[in-house]
Amino acid sequence: MFDMSKMFYYMGCTRFLTWGSLMGFQEKMAWAMVVVLIVTGVTYFSTVFQASAALGAVAPPDLPLMFGYAVFLVVLTIVAAVIISVSRPSEAGEGPDERDKLIQYKGEAQSGRLMGALMIGALLGVGMSGDANLLFHFVFANLIIAQIAQFGFQILYYRRGA
């Protein structure tokens, strides 16, 4: 008997596989980094929010937490790179070509501008309050947002054309 759900499932798989084959290693890594940075960033800041709620004030910077964040980020990045490499081994050894490099430069330039704007906003908004802990968290968040934006802009240029 004809099963519509199976048909949609296979159509979805085919579409995903076709889409995946249109992306090179660098673009897949950009997608992976967006996900990894969002997951690690949300995890880090949810811990900071919980600590702040427990303290009743903005929690001070926590070096062990930051170290844990960095390790979590590195581990997830390695896992993502391994999964992407295994899924298409022929592309695994490919370094960035001229288009990848151009897109990376453009992504870095755009995220650099965004980070500058966010830093000025943090300095003006939080700096005036005199709360150094809040300023620290804003600056750290800005760094993460700028990184997400960098890979987001790269994806945009890959999809739309460099």
Binding site: L22, M23, G24, F25, Q26, E27, E91, E94, D97, E98, R99, D100, R160, G161, A162
Partner: protein, 72 residues
């Protein structure tokens, strides 16, 4: 949607005329990824001058036989 570069090309046409050369084979010849060849053929990316010369040499034609100008 991004503005298309004013450079047109006949890469797909020339590639298919050359014994149905694959995108991967062309990519390997000119030292880029297959996705970059796809982007060039779709007009989403204008290759560097060096890659443009390499493409022309693969097809054994002149640069202007591969690339054209479609702007003002």
């Amino acid at each position: 949607m991004a503005k298309r570069p004013p450079i047109t090309n006949r890469v797909k046409e020339l590639r298919e005329a050359k014994d149905q050369m694959s995108q991967s084979a062309l990519a390997k010849e000119i030292g880029v990824t297959r996705q970059t060849v796809i982007a060039i053929e779709q007009g989403k990316y204008s290759p560097s001058l060096e890659s443009a010369f390499r493409i022309a040499r693969v097809f054994d034609v002149g640069l202007e036989d591969v690339f054209g100008w479609d702007g003002d």
